[in-house]
Symmetry: C2
Subunit: 226 residues, 2 copies
DNA sequence: CGACCATTTGATATGGATCAAGCGATGTGG
DNA sequence: CCACATCGCTTGATCCATATCAAATGGTCG
């Protein structure tokens, strides 16, 4: 009966909670120690827009997308979160985007209030909370910049970003669909697909399957970034 | 000789530093008290991309734009700052955008380190620094959302946003040029101009001059927001 | 008044959207 | 184990919103 709510020390230690080659900070440690493991199936909602932002999440395995819907059904994906990434942190009391699991996903969940309370005593934690938010800000600003570029520049930028975030050098294993990519980049699925095909024709990338991309020519790709 | 660097207590008290109807917080008080007044002429650079982010700014009068340039000259404006707004706060040590005065502008300048030091002792200040960053994040996310909309939706959204930020009800006095608006919205100057004209033809707005806009029909405008 | 710069207006071009099949992988029931 | 439905992706044909190119108009300031 109590098994589910027991302190998840073993899981927290074992799980691939940290990004490759990343030194954990006080806050991340706190999340790892205090965070409760939780699982979500593919396409399950983790939280909804306008829900109280009482928790903070760290991806253990799988992948997460955050998004907003416009009244007419257009969807803008705000970000993708991969293992080691923290999401759901907002200064306000409600989430301004929804979050869903892209594939079956494990996360650590921690009460926001607990972390804020800790931050009141520990400046290191306080500054980490700030840093996480600032990193999100940076990401959002880069996203804005991406959205004024051409379709090819957006797709190439996306592939380079993903390559830098997953281990595996030039091999990328995309957890998300073409539709997800399109909604992240402000393009249609057809344009994303065509652009990928064109990059393959150009020998800039290889597409062993639709979800696997190999970067063949980084310098050529770099030049296509705008 | 020392006049320029004297504590600017009188100016800080007198100036229209706070936004209309806004209750100042501990941090904002700190900026107002400790901030040194400084003036910039129209189009003068306040700081450049990749410069050390040693200072934080609060607009007293005038207006500021932050922006990034792409190698081929495309410019993306990140945000506009009006009297009472704080800008230049980054968690990292360098600015990721440049900042320029749109018109002749007065700001209060404060050393980042001083504020961070204060935050280490005062949780209220620490939490305010976080809140300011989180507000920027919110703004950037809204900006991303705007950039997937149609030209008309972007322009209308921009006008409504500006109306909510300046006093004057339905009368907006735009400090920025059409080019600035275009570079903020990811459109061309011609498209912005045409869209404005179309809104005027539709009786949604009035354009007494190119820099003055009167919102004539808010509910109609609201419907055009997407 | 005349020069200059910002803005508007007009004509045309085009990148990406939309509409519409086709195709390959995965899974399901007979 | 195979027919066939389903789903995600690609490919093709056409359209359209916005960019681009070009010129006219309107302030502003010496």
């Amino acid at each position: 009966m109590l098994m589910q709510s027991a302190v998840p020390s073993r899981i927290a230690k074992d799980a691939a909670v940290t990004k490759p080659g990343h030194v954990p900070t006080a806050t991340e440690d706190a999340i790892d120690m205090m965070g409760a493991p939780m699982s979500f199936r593919r396409n399950a909602e983790i939280y909804g827009e306008d829900e109280p932002a009482d928790y903070l999440y760290k991806v253990v395995s799988g992948a997460v997308r955050t998004y907003k819907l416009l009244s007419d059904g257009r969807r803008q994906i705000g970000a993708f979160y991969l293992p080691g990434d923290v999401f759901g942190l907002e200064s306000g009391s409600v989430h301004s985007l929804s979050a869903e699991a892209i594939s079956d996903t494990k996360v650590l969940v921690i009460k926001r209030r607990a972390l804020v309370a800790l931050a009141a005593r520990d400046n290191g934690v306080a500054s980490q909370l700030w840093t996480i938010t600032a990193r999100e800000l940076q990401r959002a600003q880069d996203h804005v910049l991406a959205l004024i570029k051409t379709a090819e520049e957006r797709v190439v930028g996306f592939l380079l970003e993903m390559a830098s975030r997953v281990r595996g050098g030039n091999q990328i294993d995309l957890p998300m669909s073409r539709q997800d990519i399109a909604d992240y980049l402000g393009l249609t699925i057809e344009t994303v697909s065509r652009t990928m095909t064109h990059l393959e024709d150009t020998a800039a990338i290889e597409l062993p399957s639709s979800r696997k991309v190999v970067l063949r020519n980084r310098s050529a790709l770099g030049r296509l970034t705008g």
